[in-house]
Symmetry: C2
């Protein structure tokens, strides 16, 4: 152990550099050493104080004394002696091969905050909608795609990001969406975001937003939809006007004043409508082809926009797929897609396909640089799609979800044949129709049974009048999430709480 | 080739399921087939239309005919014959082993939008501040950490995320920040976000924001700072009041009415102050220890908050590190950290360390589920930190940036010894002091020379009066980003444009 004094306080900094080897190895440890007094005593005091205050937790590994000495500008043996004394005092533990660590003490360090439970106690059975099967995430395929993507990426990929999203991703998305969803686009009209809620914020929230409240009139939405989206729009100051639903989906004729509804409801001022055409959320049907055409015609005539939320378009179990409305007129439809259902909500990746005239305005709302979507995940998803892994995953999951759906339908047919089930041709959830006025009591029974499941009532737009569309009682049953071993029991619990035939 | 007719239009859906093998292989292709007419002709028309419209680009690989037939509910030989005829017509190309693809055509598909350049033409030399060295991203270490993290992750990691952030990450961050930055926290007071701008939005932007405008009075900021942050705060409706700077950093005494400045400037209503204590941005000095203590005392007495932006705290080249102000009083300081400088802005990961009473309010502003930060990147970063890779990377980069800094200082000492350079003890940039009134002409000379570099003027708060702090002319020189081979030339260009001694 040699002493290398480094004590020239006025010399310019570069001359004081610690040796490279000491700087390259080890870890960082911040210590406030008083400027005066003996160095060894000061270091010991600082270390004791850091341990006593709980800042250095028991088991924390300290940097090698050489590293610490170099970082603090101390002689090596000063640091070595301080470590040795603190080991002797019981503050630190030194073990051959594992370095010096903070000693475990009998007395636990008090934390200032009651520990939040990392996982809130969940229900016994969980049939809530909205999530794909987390257990089916293609870990190895994703990791392999990540390795290929990050190895091949240019250096600039690790610099500040283009707010439009990585070109690699937009290029494969343009091809994929054209091929699989009937979307007409090129990579330059796609903007990557963190998911549908982020896309809504970019369009509606804030002074620079493309469709900021006050400039574009109210937004027409489907009479049933996700309360989270309604809340987000309301907080952005956007007024939403509900469109009634029937067996053919949203009654788009109301937009043009059909049946006098529009006039009395403020629909005459609407220039933008938000729809889930492939799979109405949550009731589950596709928008009728005549209405798909009609809403695009309306948007053309009105100078308006159709917002198409294609949240689970990949998962359709009927043979005739429903393509994107966007394909009918790319200049009048904003298409929204996401990896949250097809892969995982843990990814935080979604995409907007925009009319040409909106691209620059959405980019302006997003800011000069990518502030949200991870470039690393974007590159990995591009590789995953481009290599065919995404198609394979989606097709595999489609089969899995279809089997799940079939088990639900079979269980109901056996145990509750009087309960009609709808919305089963696509998606990750179904709707069980209940007799009027029974939804609340069925949900109570579910809660009592430990079954988490949602009723239709929460999805209903509060502005939807009963004469325009009677309240529909029902359960929204998500069948994608329960683990395999728990699914049969969840179905049994579901059948148990359904009311007997009237 | 066997014909398997699937033509029972009224039978319930499950009976129509395509064979599993057909569903598992291949890719998705969306086609709108007219409901009437011959199936083969309808399929051919749909494919021709998809190719003609450019939706299916030349080279796009079609699914195997068996897969397409299964997906569309057609007989296999119907699909096979349609493919064969379109090959004969020149629309498709069939090659042994590579399947059927859309034929390359002489005529390119017109896109509706002029192609945006993926990379804007850059300057010849780039010494702009704000970014770490993209070429030094630890690709292999990151990939290895990702493999370990994703392999070990529980299934729930791929489900909807905790808005506070993954516990794995918060746990290692609490230890790391305590050890390396002197932060006092536990994992329960950390909230993960997409970076500092996202954290500012969570605190200030929107009706539910913790420090929403109108409720908390104006925000005191440093007299020089990032215009992007000022703009973000202004859009959120927050009034900012500048604190003058001197050689000891922000003049925090102004907050308590020292020198009469506060009274005349609205500082008497301030309850929150945003600072960069470790390394004032952009002028580069640390906040003087007496002011660190004073600002925390002010916050205690005022019932206010100090917001501590520790954007590059890891990169200090002097021996005595400057710990976080947060350690002085965790209940009065919000600490902000980020991976954008230490690793890469491509990651979109940052963290806030909050006083206990703010945790639930920030989580409420963030929403019920994680909508921003990728759980996969969070898990990977947790593993990267926990395994020591982050410390090794930071220490290696510190050495690299210090060498860069030394080359800058040496070049200036040789070619422009009359130019004073400051802010070099830490961070990824330095400030070159210019004679009053010369900044604009020097920046013009830089632009003429193809050198991208920023002046101090843009960083000055427009509300800062000359009598409180005279305008400082200077260049903000970032030395982290140029590739090694380009750095010397960039330094030469910089020395070239500096004015001669007065």
């Amino acid at each position: 152990m040699t002493d290398t004094p480094v004590t020239h306080p006025r010399q310019p900094e570069p001359a004081h550099q610690p040796t490279d080897s000491a700087h390259q190895t080890g870890s960082d440890l911040h210590l406030d050493l008083p400027a005066t007094g003996g160095r060894r005593a000061a270091l010991m005091t600082a270390l004791r104080e850091a341990i006593r205050s709980g800042r250095l937790a028991p088991g924390t590994r300290l940097p090698p004394y050489r590293t610490l000495a170099a970082d603090l500008g101390l002689a090596r043996n000063t640091a070595a002696e301080a470590y040795a004394e603190l080991v002797a005092e019981g503050w630190l533990t030194a073990r051959q091969g594992s370095g010096t660590t903070v000693a475990e003490r009998a007395e636990p360090v008090p934390t200032t905050r009651a520990r939040r439970p990392s996982v809130r106690p969940g229900p016994v059975h969980d049939l809530r909608q909205g999530q794909p099967d987390a257990a089916s995430f293609p870990r190895s395929g994703w990791l392999a795609a990540g390795r290929r993507a990050l190895t091949a990426a240019p250096n600039e990929a690790f610099g500040p990001g283009d707010p439009q999203g990585r070109r690699e991703l937009r290029t494969v998305l343009a091809d994929y969406l054209a091929r699989a969803r009937g979307v007409r686009t090129d990579p330059d009209r796609i903007v990557v975001c963190s998911g549908f809620a982020h896309a809504l914020r970019l369009l509606f929230d804030g002074a620079g937003a493309v469709l900021a409240a006050g400039e574009n009139g109210p937004l027409a939405v489907e009479g049933y939809g996700l309360p989270f989206h309604r809340g987000l729009l309301a907080r952005a100051g956007v007024t939403t006007v509900p469109l009634p639903l029937d067996e053919d989906g949203a009654r788009t004729a109301e937009l043009t004043g059909g049946r006098g509804y529009g006039g009395s409801r403020g629909l005459q001022d609407v220039r933008t409508v938000l729809l889930t055409p492939a799979h109405q959320f949550p009731t589950g049907g596709p928008l009728h082809p005549s209405r798909r055409a009609a809403v695009v015609d309306w948007a053309r005539g009105r100078g308006g926009l159709v917002l198409e939320d294609d949240y689970d378009g990949e998962f359709r179990y009927d043979r005739q797929p429903v393509g994107a409305v966007q394909g009918l007129d790319p200049e009048r439809v904003v298409y929204f897609g996401t990896a949250s259902k097809s892969l995982s909500p843990a990814l935080r990746l979604g995409w907007m396909v925009l009319p040409d005239h909106l691209v620059d305005r959405v980019l302006a709302a997003k800011g000069e640089r990518e502030g949200w979507a991870s470039a690393l995940d974007q590159l990995t998803l591009a590789e995953f799609i481009g290599s065919g892994g995404y198609d394979r995953h989606v097709r595999g999951m489609r089969r899995r979800y279809r089997d799940r759906r079939d088990r639900l339908v079979t269980a109901l047919a056996e145990s509750a044949p009087h309960v009609a089930v709808s919305g089963i041709a696509a998606g990750l959830h179904a709707v069980l129709q209940l007799a009027p006025g029974t939804e609340r009591s069925v949900l109570k029974a579910a809660a009592y049974r430990g079954l988490a499941v949602e009723g239709l009532a929460d999805y209903r737009h509060p502005g939807l009048a009963a004469q325009d569309m009677p309240a529909a009682d029902g359960l929204v049953v998500g069948y994608a999430t329960p683990p395999d071993h728990a699914y049969q029991a969840a179905l049994a619990a579901l059948c148990d709480i359904l009311p007997p035939p009237a």
